[in-house]
Symmetry: C2
Subunit: 360 residues, 2 copies
DNA sequence: ATTTTTCTTGTGTGCGAACACACAAAAATA
DNA sequence: TATTTTTGTGTGTTCGCACACAAGAAAAAT
C-alpha cells in the first residue's frame, strides 16, 4: 500500500500508543489535552486519511436498509428503480449492507400502509421509499422520525424533516422543458394540452408542478400567443373508454396540436387511437418504456423525457451507503438530468450500465 | 456482518483447514482431489462469495495507473475528463490505486511522445489515455503491449489489440443525431454544412465518422432533398481570419441554413461573427463549455450534444479498478449517451455529481 | 498514611482473506 | 532398509482499524 499513513505511524510520530490516536480520532474515552494536541498535530502534518477498507472490515457491523417501492408487476415503470437499487446493492453488499425490499400495489393506499407496517416491524437503519401516497407516506415518515430512521425518497419529494435526501427530477423544470419541446413542433398560435393519466391527480403535487412549468414556458413567450389547457383522466387502462375520450377530445378541441402526457403513459394515448382516424398531434411524454419507444420510432411521439428511473434507485441506495459507511452528509435534493430522447439517441439511455460506478 | 459465509465456515463444513480452502479457491499449491471436491461442494452449497473488503486489505498491494491526457491549459474541454478521473481517484484510492497523470500539449505531437516516454519510464500497471495523435498513440500502444500494460482509451477509439476498453461516444451516431437536430430547424430543401475546426482533420477519424453520420441521416430522408457540404478550417484561433472565413462562407453558400460544428468549438463561429451583420443559421455543436452555453442561452446555438467528458475520465479509471480489484472483464466499447442539451436542461448536465457512484 | 475512585494510557484481539512457513505422510530414490 | 524428495495439509502472521480490557498514575476520599 506504498506510502499510506496509518494510525501506527501517527502513534509513533506523536510518541503515544495507537489506542490513544484512536481515541482522539473518534472522540471516545479520555485523552489528556497535551496528547490530543500532539496527535492532532501529527495527523495534520502527515495528512492522515483513515483507510476505509480496513475501517469497514473492523467495524464488522450490519446496516439494515428497507426499501418501500411500488410492485413492478402493477406498473412497468417501477421495474427500473428496483433494478437500479439491486445493482447498487450488488456493489455494496460487502460493506455490510443488508437490503430488504417491500413492494406494494401502486394503486392501493392500504397496501402501502400494510407494507409500511412491515417496514417498521423490520426495524431498519435506513429507509428508501417512493412516497406514492402523500398522506400515508407522511405517516410513515413521522414513525421513522420517532425511531430515528433516515429516509431517502425517490420520484417525488416531500417536505418532511425526516427526509435525508430526495433523488429524482425537478418536476417543474421538466414541465418547462416539455413546453420547449412541444414548441418545436407546433405552429404559432395553437393550444397545448396537459394530460394527466393518473388516479387521484389532485394529490400528485409533482404533476401539478409539471403543468405549472409548461404553462410558465409558454407564458414566457406571450408574443407567440400559445394557449394551454389541462385534462385529467383515470380510466386509461380501459381501452374503449380511453379511445372515446381521446377521439372526443381531439374533435372538441381542434386547436390542440400538442399534448404533454405528464407521466410515463404517453403510449396509452396512442394505443387507444390505434386503428382510428385522427388528426396529427405532437406528443411529448416521459420514460423509455418499450411501448413509448415503439411510438417514438414511428415518430408518433416527438420526444420523450427520460426520468432516469434506474439511476434513481441506484443513487438512493448509494446515498445511504454514503451516509452510514463514509459518514458523509448527503445533499438534501439531488436532481437528475432531464434527458431529451429521440430515436437517434434512445439506445444509450437504455443500455447504460451502472455496474462501474462507485461511492467515493 | 450477519450471516456472511467466510472461508472459515467453509473449512469447518468441509472438514479441512482454512489454508486448504484458500488453495482451492486460488488454484494455488497442491490439494488432494478428494479435498478439492469437498471444498468446492461446500462453496457451492453455502453460496460463498469472497469478501472484497477483507481481500483488498490482505492483498496489500499497489496498482500504479498512469494517465496521459491533453493539458487542460491548452484547451478548456480537457478540464473535464481530468476532473472526472480525479474524482474517481478520490473514490478508489483506498483500494491501493496510485494515479500519476501526465499532461501534453494538445497541439504538439512531440509533447505527446515526450510524455509517452515518461509514462513508460514510470512503468505503470495500467494506462488511461486520450489518443489524440493517431500515429504516436499507436507507437505507445505497441510499447504497452510489450510490457503487458492494459490501456483504456477515452474520447477516440483505436483498433489496437492492447486496448482493453474505449469509453466515449459513438461518433457516427452523434453525426446522425446532429442531422436530426439540424433538421428540426431547417426548411425543406436546404443545405447543411459540416464544419471541422481542428488541426489535421484528415487524421481525425472521429470527425470523419461524425460527418458520415450526418450525411447518412439526410440520405435517409431523400424525399426532403437536403444537401450536405463540408469545410475544414484550422485558423479558428485567429479571430479576424476566422471572421472573414465565416462571412465569405455564408455569402458564398446562401443555401446553407444549418451548421454542424463537429467538435466543442461552435462558440468560435459565433465569436468570430460577433458584431457582424450576417443571416440567421441554425447551429448544432458539442459540449457544455461556458461560451457554448452562453450562445445556447441566446438561442444562437440551437442544440448542444453533451459528450459527458467528465464521465469519460471517471469511468475510465473505474474500469481499471474493476479490472485489477474486482477482476471483472470490461466491455471493449462503452458508449456514453448522446445528451441533447437546450437551455432548459443544461444545468443538470453541468452540476451532475459523480461522487456517489460506485464500482460493483 | 492508606484506600478508593477517577483519569489516562498501553496492550491485545478480531474482522476475513492472502500468503509464508513448517511439518507430516507418501512416494521416489539410493 | 535408509534417505531424500514430493505431496498435502495445518498453523500462524499480516493488512489497518475498532474496540475491550488491564493497569499505571494521579486525584479524591477515608
Amino acid at each position: 500500500m506504498s506510502n499510506r499513513v496509518t494510525i501506527k505511524d501517527i502513534a509513533e510520530q506523536a510518541g503515544v500508543s495507537p489506542g490513544t490516536v484512536d481515541r482522539v480520532l473518534h472522540n471516545r474515552g479520555k485523552v489528556s489535552p497535551l496528547n490530543r494536541q500532539k496527535v492532532l498535530k501529527v495527523v495534520e502534518e502527515l495528512g492522515y486519511e483513515p483507510n476505509i477498507i480496513a475501517s469497514t472490515l473492523a467495524y464488522n457491523r450490519t446496516v439494515k436498509v428497507a426499501a418501500l417501492l411500488p410492485d413492478y408487476r402493477t406498473d412497468p415503470y417501477w421495474e427500473k428503480p428496483a433494478s437500479g437499487m439491486l445493482k447498487a446493492y450488488q456493489a455494496v453488499k460487502h460493506f455490510g449492507i443488508e437490503l430488504t425490499p417491500f413492494y406494494f400495489n401502486l394503486f392501493d393506499p392500504n397496501a402501502f400502509l400494510q407494507q409500511a407496517h412491515a417496514v417498521l416491524q423490520h426495524a431498519p437503519d435506513a429507509l428508501l421509499m417512493a412516497p406514492i401516497f402523500f398522506k400515508e407516506a407522511n405517516l410513515l415518515l413521522t414513525e421513522c422520525q420517532k425511531m430515528g430512521i433516515p429516509v431517502v425518497l425517490i420520484n417525488t419529494d416531500l417536505a418532511h424533516e425526516q427526509v435525508m435526501t430526495y433523488i429524482g427530477q425537478d418536476s417543474y423544470q421538466s414541465g418547462v422543458l416539455a413546453g420547449k419541446l412541444l414548441h418545436f413542433g407546433m405552429k404559432e398560435p395553437e393550444k397545448a394540452l396537459v394530460l394527466n393519466l393518473d388516479n387521484e391527480t389532485v394529490n400528485a403535487k409533482h404533476l401539478l408542478d409539471k403543468e405549472q412549468g409548461l404553462r410558465d414556458y409558454f407564458a414566457s413567450i406571450p408574443e407567440k400567443g400559445f394557449q394551454v389547457m389541462r385534462q385529467d383522466f383515470e380510466a386509461f387502462d380501459q381501452a374503449p373508454v380511453m379511445r372515446d375520450f381521446m377521439l372526443e377530445l381531439l374533435e372538441k378541441h381542434r386547436d390542440v396540436t400538442g399534448i404533454f402526457v405528464s407521466n410515463s403513459r404517453a403510449y396509452k394515448v396512442l394505443q387507444a387511437l390505434e386503428g382510428q382516424e385522427y388528426r396529427k398531434v405532437k406528443i411529448v411524454g416521459f420514460d423509455l418504456l418499450p411501448p413509448n419507444l415503439a411510438y417514438l420510432n414511428q415518430e408518433k411521439i416527438s420526444f420523450l423525457i427520460n426520468q432516469n428511473p434506474e439511476q434513481q434507485g441506484y443513487l438512493a441506495l448509494m446515498n445511504i451507503v454514503n451516509h452510514f459507511i463514509y459518514k458523509r452528509p448527503s445533499e438534501r435534493i439531488q436532481h437528475l438530468p432531464l434527458d431529451i430522447v429521440v430515436t437517434e439517441n434512445a439506445g444509450y439511455y437504455l443500455q447504460r450500465n451502472l455496474e462501474f460506478q462507485m461511492v467515493g
